[in-house]
């Protein structure tokens, strides 16, 4: 699995033209085949779930049957999709704001060492505060039904991991690379552009992947404290309160899809931004 040093150039010509980023049809088929076990497992879980509920005659308010959730989901489709639309806007707006401010704060912190020493301990501490607890206060500030109130909570949740990781990526640079840049008399601006920023990309994307998942969770939980009628969190609390659990589950399905979709988009973005990275080297590239 590791890159074993070879001296024989023939070893390399074997994969010429199959560089990272290029997908041959056979490689694509191999990649798809990798998902087969996961799909089979998911199907089996649903079957077992259905059987358990039927065999033990479990009440709907304890656990709803997958078939029932599915038919309710179809009935309630317009409602839950509308609710999802509100939630996804909050999540995306919060993710965007948190990321932009997180990166800006990281660049400033990495640039000025004084700022870094003063600010970073606070950022690390703030990262462990339950920021969601601020949701009722944000509702008070921005209005209960405003998208901004939820986006604000999400942006604060997203801000800290993005900032902390990006600072690390900008500052934890191989000293050899900095010495090289000095030897070729590169001005500081060029060092940032050609070494620090590319070095920070993997750190930034690993934070963004965490943040993408947190954004959807953050938006839904913030809605639990009150929000628009057509929003996932509010809908889930309302339906669960009325013992309509199949409805609640339908909204959870939408929330799950949103989370996966946003996470998947970040993965695609990552692939596009750094096709050279270790994590994206497939077995046949080695």
């Amino acid at each position: 699995m590791t890159t074993e040093p070879h001296s024989d150039p023939d070893v390399y010509s074997a994969f010429e033209g199959d560089l990272p980023g290029t997908v041959t049809p056979s490689a694509l088929r191999r990649r798809l085949r990798r998902y087969v076990p996961a799909l089979v497992l998911a199907f089996l879980v649903l079957v077992v779930w259905e059987l358990v509920v039927r065999v033990f005659d479990i009440e709907e308010f304890i656990l709803a049957k997958p078939t029932e959730i599915y038919s309710t989901f179809l009935d309630e489709f317009d409602t839950v999709v509308e609710a999802g639309w509100t939630t996804v806007r909050e999540a995306l707006l919060g993710l965007a704001l948190g990321t932009v401010f997180g990166v800006l704060a990281a660049v400033a912190t990495a640039r000025w060492a004084g700022l870094r020493e003063g600010l970073l301990p606070f950022a690390v501490a703030a990262n462990s505060i339950p920021i969601l607890a601020l949701a009722p206060i944000a509702n008070q500030w921005f209005g209960l039904t405003s998208i901004t109130a939820k986006a604000a909570v999400v942006s604060v949740i997203v801000f800290f991991p993005v900032m902390i990781n990006t600072v690390r990526g900008l500052t934890e640079v191989d000293p050899g690379e900095l010495e090289l840049m000095r030897a070729i008399a590169a001005p500081p601006r060029e060092v940032v552009r050609r070494v620090r920023i590319p070095n920070a990309l993997p750190y930034f994307f690993s934070a963004l992947k965490v943040a993408a998942a947190l954004a959807v969770i953050g938006a839904i939980v913030a809605e639990y404290f009150g929000g628009r009628t057509a929003s996932l969190g509010f809908y889930i609390t309302q339906q669960a309160g009325a013992f309509k659990f199949a409805e609640a589950w339908s909204a959870i399905i939408v929330g799950s899809f949103l989370g996966i979709a946003i996470y998947g988009s970040v993965l695609l973005l990552e692939r596009w931004a750094m096709p050279w990275h270790v994590s994206l080297r497939t077995a046949d590239d080695r």
Binding site: P5, Y12, A183, I184, R194
Partner: protein
Amino acid sequence: MSAVDIRGVSKVFGSGPGQVEALKDIDLSIESGQFVSLIGPSGCGKSTLLRLVGDLLPPTGGSLTVAGKTPHEARLSRDYGMVFQQATLLDWRSVRANVELPLEIMGASADERTARAEEMLELVQLGDFGGHYPWQLSGGMQQRVAIARALSFKPSLLLMDEPFGALDEMTREAMQDELLRIWERSKRTVIFVTHSIPEAVFLSQRTVVMSRRPGRITRIVDIDLPYPRDEDTREDRRFYDKVTEVREALREHE
């Protein structure tokens, strides 16, 4: 004019009781086009001396000139190319883009960069690998890319800090042959730091023997073996004699 002139140079790291005298009273003059090796035990300051020449560290005392300028001026006018023990290729750049890096920073046009990178990759026999990423290359190939990068802007001086130290013996000898071939073609001045006695003898015209605590020059051995040097040189009686001479010079000061 000598390519590098070092007069009474000293270097002290730290201060107070913990200070280390890395270099003391170094005098060395290197003619233009010469291949000079610095050899000595770890801690003799050979890499430090190379870094003073390259303005990667400031000297504590004495004076240095590189191509008649201060090391600082020489660095800013890119009079030297540097090769480190690690290839230090940037992971996110293709082999070609790594070779082009110094040219990009110097503001060369895209056409010029491409042409020069191709030329340099041909020179180190990696013409077909421009589109590869560094991790797809073996250690020896990566180090060849680092040499191509150091030569890409045609500096008159090449500073090499144990460039083949991390390679296996076979690759190492192949790299030495290749370096001599490149040097004979371009006749640049080379300062080559190593701790391998045969490597120093095989490559250089002069081998500067250093000892430690404090780091100083104890002997300069002229290696008057004819170029081109090849496999026969490695088995030549006179080659062994020179290896022995350098070894004894190193041992005298242990």
